[in-house]
């Protein structure tokens, strides 16, 4: 199967006011991949996701998705094109039910006709959500909220899922469940770009990775190669 480029980010410079947070960022995501962006706090990984989703707009550079330029679009337009984001801290709607949260995931016009089949997919991946269908989202545990956030993203007929700091606050057992779900999501031909601080785990789950430090990409490649990289070994595995 030919590997088409799904997302192409070129020479992105992003500012918060006068503070530059992204410096000449270029990444490429191919259809069907699982790509990780790894870095410590403040490395710019979340800012990169926000720029791709249109929450902030870059000062320079371009973002092309499926051949279309999306650099200056509003967030709701980018969701409609097929990029969903599972934000940092989950940000589920606390006073709405699990069901309503999922329904809202299907708000964009492409997703509404597919609502029922996407519900099936989400409940298959996360049966606990069906069990807690009518509960208010704020009553769910951390792991369940993460599943709800992922489920919401899946409801949007997404082609590319951006996941920001999924593992924060999750117990290892729960995290395993969630990564298992990610693999199943990829089987349904959804491309995944996830952002993480946990280097070891990320390199186990992704196909390729970019490593970011203070707003720049410092290293990238297949995870097999990255694990062997001297710098990575020294910096992150303490060898």
């Amino acid at each position: 199967m030919p590997e088409e480029t799904l997302l192409k980010v070129s020479h992105l410079d992003t500012f918060y006011g006068s503070l530059q947070v992204l410096w000449d960022i270029s990444i490429e995501i191919k259809q069907g991949e699982i790509v990780a962006i790894i870095g410590a706090n403040g490395s710019g990984k979340s800012s990169l996701l926000k720029t791709i989703s249109g929450v902030i707009h870059p000062a320079r550079g371009s973002i092309i998705f499926e051949g279309k330029e999306i650099t200056t679009l509003d967030p709701f337009q980018i969701v409609a094109l097929g990029i969903s984001q599972v934000p940092e801290g989950r940000r589920i709607f606390p006073d709405l039910s699990v069901l309503d949260n999922l329904i809202l995931g299907s708000y964009n016009h492409r997703a509404r006709p597919k609502k029922e089949q996407n519900f099936k997919m989400v409940y298959e991946l996360f049966p606990i959500l069906e069990a807690r269908n009518n509960q208010l989202a704020k009553t769910l545990s951390g792991g369940e909220q993460q599943m709800l956030a992922l489920g919401r993203g899946l409801m949007s007929e997404t082609k590319l899922m951006l996941i920001d700091e999924m593992s924060l606050g999750l117990a290892p057992i729960v995290l395993n469940e969630v990564y298992k779900a990610l693999r199943k999501i990829r089987e349904r031909d959804i491309t995944i770009l996830f952002v993480e601080q946990n280097v070891r785990r990320s390199l186990e789950e992704a196909d390729r990775a970019y490593i970011m430090e203070v707003g720049r990409v410092v290293l990238s490649g297949d995870v097999v190669d990255l694990r062997e990289e001297e710098e990575v070994k020294k910096a992150y595995f303490g060898v």
Binding site: P75, F93, L96, D100
Partner: protein, 306 residues
């Protein structure tokens, strides 16, 4: 407690609940806007009165001192035109004025709303004179006799109107995509955007719906009380009291808040009368404000507030 005492109480009790319906009706639009967009719309009372004057115009055809006698439409019927008109005005105010004001500063929307208030008041003065008016329909003075007291028909209409509008808004927010989007945007605007919700447009719809509600409230207000171009302010204050007591963003809470304030007013007035104290007419409002202050002190989020 004598039976007579209880019987005497039944009048103010019923009147308070029914009057509370009008207060709730006025407050529902304010509650929606405040709950969703955290916007204190100080022009709300004046926009309600604008709705009243639309009804007045439909009924009397009077404008700039001239009379267009081919009108003469019942105010409630004129809502068929009044509601979409205020809906469109509300949509435009939010989309083109307030949404831009929010980007300037936190206070800018407040100042803009104040400006709208002045414009509306003065426009109504010019169009329909400063004199006190009423929506004097054929049924405006009808009343039912229930035992020892009379219930004005319009009070019953106020209550029924409030109940219908409250239920409609509640179900709309709960069941429709747009309603859920409004609730979501009020809880987390950024996350709502990530769901593909155009929050700018959703806010405009929310404000527009609030204005359509204000049109209804305006008509019922005009049927119940006399009004002038500056009547909006006093009803705005009562509406704030209602949503403080009922809790922000809760339609049911606003409805019950209206009942409580209506009761506070009528029962308070009754007690003052019974005690032979002078100034019961204005004293009942004092009691109303005191109750609001008490709720603010004891349970600031209101009955049903989040």
């Amino acid at each position: 407690m004598t039976l007579q005492f209880l019987v005497d109480l039944s009048g103010p009790l019923v009147m308070g609940i029914l009057l509370g319906g009008l207060y709730a009706l006025i407050a529902l639009g304010l509650s929606l806007v405040f709950g969703v967009m955290k916007l204190i719309n100080v022009a709300h009372g004046d926009l309600v009165i604008l709705g009243t004057y639309f009804g007045f115009f439909g009924m009397t055809g009077e404008i700039f001192g001239h009379r267009l006698t081919f009108l003469g439409i019942d105010p409630i019927v004129s809502l068929v035109v009044g509601m979409p008109l205020l809906f469109a005005i509300g949509f435009a105010i939010q989309k083109y004025l307030l949404s831009r004001a929010v980007q300037i500063s936190m206070e800018a929307p407040l100042i803009i709303a104040f400006g709208i208030s002045l414009i509306v008041q003065n426009a109504c003065q010019r169009l329909w004179t400063p004199y006190s008016r009423g929506l004097t329909t054929s049924y405006a003075l009808d009343s039912f006799n229930v035992g020892v007291f009379n219930i004005p028909l319009v009070y019953l209409l106020d209550f029924a109107g409030a109940l219908v509008v409250m239920l409609f808004l509640r179900e709309f927010l709960r069941r429709t995509y747009l309603g859920k989007a409004i609730s979501a945007a009020s809880q987390d605007r950024g996350a709502a955007q990530l769901m593909g919700i155009n929050t700018g447009r959703v806010y405009a719809y929310a404000f527009a719906i609030a204005m359509a509600t204000a049109a209804i409230a305006g008509v019922f207000l005009g049927l119940t009380f006399p009004f002038t171009p500056t009547s909006g302010v006093s009803f705005l204050i009562i509406a704030f009291g209602v949503i403080i007591i009922g809790g922000l963003g809760s339609m049911l809470g606003t409805f019950l808040g209206g009942m409580i304030l209506g009761l506070a007013q009528t029962m308070g007035g009754h007690v003052l009368n019974e005690l032979g104290l002078p100034g019961a007419a204005t004293g009942q409002y004092l009691i109303l404000y005191i109750i609001v202050l008490v709720v603010l002190a004891v349970r600031p989020q209101g009955l049903f507030g989040r």
